[in-house]
Every structure is written in C-alpha cells, then in structure tokens.
Amino acid sequence: MSGEGRTTKRLKANAALRQIIEDFYADAHRAKAEGRPVGWIPPMNGLIELFYSMDIHPVFPENWAPICAAIGTSVENFARAESRGYSTDLCGYFRNNVGYALDGIDEENQPLGGMPAPDFLISFGAGCVPTMKTFQVLCDHFDVPVFRADLPQVAIEDIREHHIRYGVTQIKRLIGFLEEITGNRFDIDRLSRAVAYTDEACRLWDAIMDTRRARPAPFSAAEIGIMFVMVTRHGTRVAVDFLREVLEEVTGKVDRGEGVIPNERIRLFWDNIPLWYNMRLFNYFEKWDAVVVAETYTSAWTMRMDPDRPLESIAYKSLTSYPMVSCVSLNKRVELIKRAVSDYGIDGAILHSNRSCKPISMGQMDIQRVLLEELSVPSVMFDGDHMDASRFSMAQFQARIDAFMEMLLQRA
C-alpha cells in the first residue's frame, strides 16, 4: 500500500458518477456551440438553482481545478500563472484557474475538453479572498458582461433577517441581469422546483453520510468525489437520481455488514480539503484497519431548503455553505466536529494543514485542543496543499501518520 496516486474506489455508483462528470462538461460545450450563453460562477452558493431554473448552464472554475489536479494539468497551469507574475504563495485553485483562463484555455487536450470560455461572469465580494480575486482576474481578462454582487461573510449563528433580505434583493438584481443576457424568462415555479431538488439532494446526502455511522462503515473519504453532484448539479434531478442510487447501494452494504475493509478497527475524522492529486491517500490508513468515516468538507451540504420560499432559500444557502466549513464560523465548525465525533464514533482525527486554504486551516489548533481536552480524541496534523503536490511530502506524512496510528492502535 503506497498511499500514492488515485484512490481505489469501491462504490458501483462511481461508474454513474464518471458519466455525470463527462455530461456536465459536455453540456457546457454544447451550450457554447449552440450559442447559449455560458456563465462562470463562484462555488457554494444558491446561484446554481437559479441558473438551472432559467436553462442556463453554470461553469464552476473551482470545480474544474480539482479535475486538473487529479489529471495532472494543474502543474502547467501553475507555471502559466507564475509566468504572469502570480505568487506561488497564492491558493492553488487561484493559480490553476488563472493560469488556465489566461494562457491555457486554447490549448488542446484539456481534460473533459476544458471549460468553455465564458459569455458572462458573476463576481462576488468575499466568499474567500482568493475566489473573489480569481473572478476579478477573469473580469479583467475576458471582455464579457459582469454581474457584481455581494456575499457578506457572517457566522452562521449570527445570520439575521436583514442578511437574508439583502441576499434576496441581490438575487432579484441577478435575475434581471440573466434575463437580459440570455433572453430567458425567470419563472418562480421553476425555481421552486429546483430548490425542491436541492432540498431532496441535501436530505439524501445526510442519509448517505449517516450510513457511515454503521460499523463497519460502508464507504470512506476516498469516495468523496460523489460530492461532484452537490457542487454542480444541485437544483436538478440528476443529483437526486444519482444520490438515490448511492443511498441504495450504501444502505445495502450496511444491511449486509459490508465495510470498506473487512476488519474495521479504527474510525477516523478528516479535517480540510483532500489532496485532489492524491486521493489514494485515504486508502493509506487501511493497513491499520482504519477508515476515514467523516469529514468537515462534506458537511457543507447539511442544510434544508424551503421550496415555498425559493428566493430566501437560495439566499440562505449562499450565506451558509462556505462559513459552514471555514473559519468564518469557527464555533459552529467546532460544534460540528464535536457532534461528528459522537455520531460517527471517531477514534482519531487527521487534520490537513492546507497551505492553499487559509480560511479552512485557521482554527485547526483550536479544533485539536477541543478534540483532546473535551472529547479525549487524539489528532495529528500534517502539512499539505489541496492542489499543489510539490507542497506535500509523502515521507513526512508517513512519519507522522505511522506514529499516530501506532498510538491509536495501542489505545484501541
């Protein structure tokens, strides 16, 4: 078990997922070819439901970056960004997407055909600074219409009516912009249906994650790629149908007592974004009969939407998805991890100190202390980067993890 390279996936649903990924990018290229406007938008917000309800295909640079990392083209994009003067200290998503957009977009043989050039851009204030700045670079580079909006950063526990109200006013502005750009009419009933799909997807997501409470757990963090539908196909039946399949499969595994590994002994929690270029790392723990059964990142989708209040629902989603997993709402995040430790029977936690993501990495020392002092759960932190393989040392990872796992085994 080297722990390097691509993960060994076990869920049958991965075959369907591969098709969904290909279809998503093929749909984007088809829209472009047919002259339907393609918009590049920031991730983790309620715009996606609006887009699908208006027959507009969204493109998410932040979803594209992990694909580049997994396939290996991120290295070329990093070099392109650096040659444009962008510091290597910047987030890997930023460097990949800027490098691709500025100098790589016309290159042939891009994975999945690449992202088709945008016909318009949605540029937020905040979200996280690198995402905000990525879109500012794109706005400067592409000579296309831009919709500028806000995404105020508010801790989830501090969200009040005026935040939602402001979100709704901006969505209404955006609707006007989209109608003008695309010529498509907004229909509140269609948005309501899209919101209902997202609500159902989130419900299924929670049910899928809940199956991991079972011992042995039916799947590990190595299958985190199923999150693709939560990022790109919210608001559609595609996500709901796929997640139903996944739920059926993992429930069956639980019923049959089939785990990721035959003799599960140790259950782990993972904090921060995975190393997209090395998803097989999650399998590394198996030599100690250990499985990663819960993560911070996957909890970004633990929410409910109200189809009867579609505008408010997507405003609320926009306000909460990112703070749920970042340091905007550190108390909430700590609370979430404490609950996961109890719900999933966690024996130890792996914290990825992620040089490419300050908002998610800040607060990890607090998390470690809470785990140990309040829950007696040991944890280990390793240095890495969710996009840039040159910032991750397998030897150092192994040294830290091996010692940690030995210690956990002695406690078990």
Partner: protein, 426 residues
C-alpha cells in the same frame, strides 16, 4: 445603482482643510459625549471640560512618536480617571465613530516582530506576519486592558484571527460587522442594519442608549481629524519638509489614541509644517502600496536612500481619509462613508484599484511606486500583477518588496537600492 467599482472614486482631497473647531469647542463635544449631555450649548468659555489634559495644556504637546509610544499610558489614564472603556479593532473598516459615540475608545491593535513564534500554538506559519504578530501580542497579554474587540470582515486571515482571538483570549465583548461590497441603495440599507447590530452590542457593553446626537458629535471630531490629516499629506506633497515617518506616526496615533487627544497635536503639526519651509526637492516622489506597514526602519531607509514618500495605498494612510461624513442621518451617513471610501485590496475590484492608484499617482505627481507586501497576503499578491501592468502602461516604474515579519532584511535592502539605481539612471 451601479456596482462599487463603477462608481466615482473617492480620491484624497488636495484642497485645504475646512474650518476648524477650537480646542475648547472640541473639548465641549467630548465632555458632552462622556456626560451624556446632548446640547452643544456651551461652546464658549472653559466649561466643564477640565480634566482633559489634551485640551488644557498650552505648552507644546508631545510629538507623534512620543504620543504613540505612550499611548498605552494615555489609554490607561482614560480608563482609570474617566472610566472609559477601550475596544480593540482589527481593521480600518470598523466604524470608530459609532464606538466613540458611546464614550468608548476604539483602539486599532497590531503586533510587533518579536516573539512571533508563540503564535504557532494557534496559527500556522503560512498565515501572514501581521496576523501572527498580533496574535502573539494578544497571547502575551499585552491587550488584556481592552474591554473587548470589534472586527469588520475584510480578509480571510483577520476573520480567522478574530475568531481564534475570541475563542482563546475570551474578551468580555466581541462583535463582527460584515459590510457589503457594492455601493447600491439596498447595500446601504443592509449596512445600516449591520451598524444597528453593532449599536445593540455597544448598548449592552456600556449600558447606555444610542444617541444620534452623540454620534453626530463623534462624526464631527473624526471629520476634523481626517480633514487635517489630508492637509498634512497635501503639505508634504507641496514640498514642505516632513519625513514620511512623521506621517506614519501621525497615522498610527490616529488609530490608537482617543480622537480628542490626537487632534491638538495634529493641529499643531499642520500649523508647524509650513513654518519648516520647503525641502530642496529633486528626490523621487514615491507611492507606497501594501497592507499594514509598521516597520519604521524600512520607511526611514527608503527616504534616506533618496526617495520621498508622498502618498500611500495602505491600511493606515490616505485611503482611510475619505471625505467628511455629512451632518445628517448619522447611521446612514456612517454606512455611506465606509461603503464609499476608497476600498482596500480585500474589498476592491480591479477597476477601482486601478483608478485609485492612477489618480493618486497623478494627484501627488508620483514618480515611482514601491509595493510592500506581507508574505502570504492573498489580496495584495493577487492584485500585484494587474497593478504592475497598469503602472507599466502608464510609464511609472515600480518594484515589489516582500516582508516576512522579521524586519526588513538584506535582500529587501538590496532590492530598494537596485530600484533607486534604476530610477537614478532614468
């Protein structure tokens, strides 16, 4: 109804400062603030303002460096003798007028490049030096005198710092404001709601009700301080002799002192500058761009080496000196001020960054720009290639320095020297 970046930019005004209030008038304002007196009726005569040393003394007040070095003592005296509370602020977007209107002193806090490693217990090494330095000072207990902390969300690192600070140092009071990024009617209404939430929090802290009149008086003091500070920049740009370090300490004092303590020295400084006469000129006129630059030796070295820093684009200087806040609907006016002010790199889009840099270069007749970046600062690092291109196109040479939190090292020194050699060869 246009996004922020398309609006007119608020560039530093180069007109002379407006009519000034006398020291006594200012004292009355402050005393009213503290006593809860609403009426501004006693502007003549000594009034009940005795006890505010800053207004009583007729002898020259301390220099800005002296005031800054002694600010902890000044704050302690305000706390001890006048029972005023002090609230730490992490960012220039915290609406200080509002805090001041409750009689509370807003104190901008930052760190020093010493013992930074103790922050390792709470922060990773890839977090920017200013945030790590500040956390270190907080962990050392240097800010224990504060009654609380207020932040306004700007960048990821300070947002994380705020949360980690609150969890670990457990201040008695904490509040975060989240201002919008676009300057439209709905955004202003939202910003007012955010300010109202801060008002609620301050009412709980002080057990005082909010007074629009009191806020109006605080606004007047800050307006005056900003107007006089702009005047200092104007005088220096006009050739009157002042080191940028003088201005730097003026800016620091503006952030850490009660505004009524800061004003007398500022007024003297404005009066003193023309008496100093004009410099010989001939030095390269520079604009400094970055976030928090608190390294005296770097600033001094640049000017000793032959540059004249006449303008800045930092979290301490010109960008904070927007036009006067109007004397009406005070909460709305404060909201409009912070939304309309020249935005920082963490809040601005590229068009507004470009406009500020080019207009400042033009207004201050800048010859060259020095970017002083803190390592790992996402906002400034992301802007730099764009701004460099803008300056290249305008024929303005620029260089970039990167600070790693331990003072400016030999590499930075060499870079500055090379830059000046290049400028001299032009």
């Amino acid at each position: 109804m246009s996004p922020r970046g398309e609006d007119a930019l608020i560039i530093p005004a180069l007109e002379p400062a407006g009519p000034r209030r006398s020291r006594q008038e200012r004292a009355v304002i402050v005393t009213d603030l503290l006593s809860g007196t609403i009426c501004l009726s006693t502007r003549e005569g000594p009034g009940p303002w005795k006890g505010f040393k800053a207004f009583e003394q007729e002898s020259p007040v301390a220099s800005f460096p002296e005031l800054y070095e002694g600010h902890a003592g000044i704050l302690e005296r305000e706390r001890g003798e006048h029972g005023r509370k002090c609230v730490g602020t992490l960012c220039s977007y915290v609406p200080v007028e509002l805090i001041h209107s409750f009689g509370v002193i807003p104190v901008r806090i930052w760190g020093r490049p010493e013992n930074v490693d103790i922050s390792d217990a709470l922060l990773q090494p890839f977090i920017c030096p200013p945030v790590r330095q500040l956390m270190a000072l907080g962990m050392e207990g240097r800010y224990e005198f504060l009654d609380g902390i207020v932040h306004c969300y700007t960048c990821d690192a300070t947002c994380g710092l705020y949360n980690i600070w609150v969890r670990n140092l457990k201040p008695g009071f904490s509040h975060m404001v989240s201002l919008p990024y676009v300057d439209i009617d709905e955004a202003r209404a939202y910003a007012v709601a955010e300010l109202e939430a801060l008002v609620d929090a301050l009412e709980s802290l002080t057990r005082q009700g909010f007074s629009p009149e009191s806020l109006g008086r605080s606004i007047a003091l800050y307006n005056e301080a900003r107007s006089l500070s702009r005047e200092v920049y104007r005088l220096k740009a006009g050739g009157f002799r002042a080191d940028y370090l003088d201005i730097h300490y003026m800016n620091l004092c503006a952030q850490v002192l009660p505004v009524e303590t800061f004003l007398p020295r500022l007024e003297e400084f404005v009066e003193e500058l023309p008496r100093r006469g004009r410099g010989s000129g001939g030095r390269a006129r520079l604009l400094l761009s970055g976030s928090v630059i608190n390294d005296d030796s770097l600033l001094a070295f640049i000017e000793q080496r032959g540059g004249e820093i006449v303008a800045d684009d930092t979290c301490l200087g010109l960008r904070l000196l927007g036009d006067a806040i109007p004397d009406r609907e005070p909460l709305e006016s404060v909201a409009s001020y912070y939304l309309g002010r020249t935005p920082c790199a963490s809040r601005a889009d590229f068009p507004s960054r470009k406009r500020y840099i080019l207009e400042t270069v033009g207004a201050f007749e800048v010859d060259a720009v020095i970017f002083v970046h803190q390592k790992f600062c996402d906002a400034h690092l992301s802007d730099h290639p764009f701004l460099k291109r803008v300056l290249d196109d305008a024929g303005i040479p620029s260089t970039r320095l990167e600070l790693e939190g331990v003072g400016f090292d030999g590499q930075v020194r060499t870079r500055i020297e090379s830059f000046f050699e290049m400028l001299e060869a032009r």
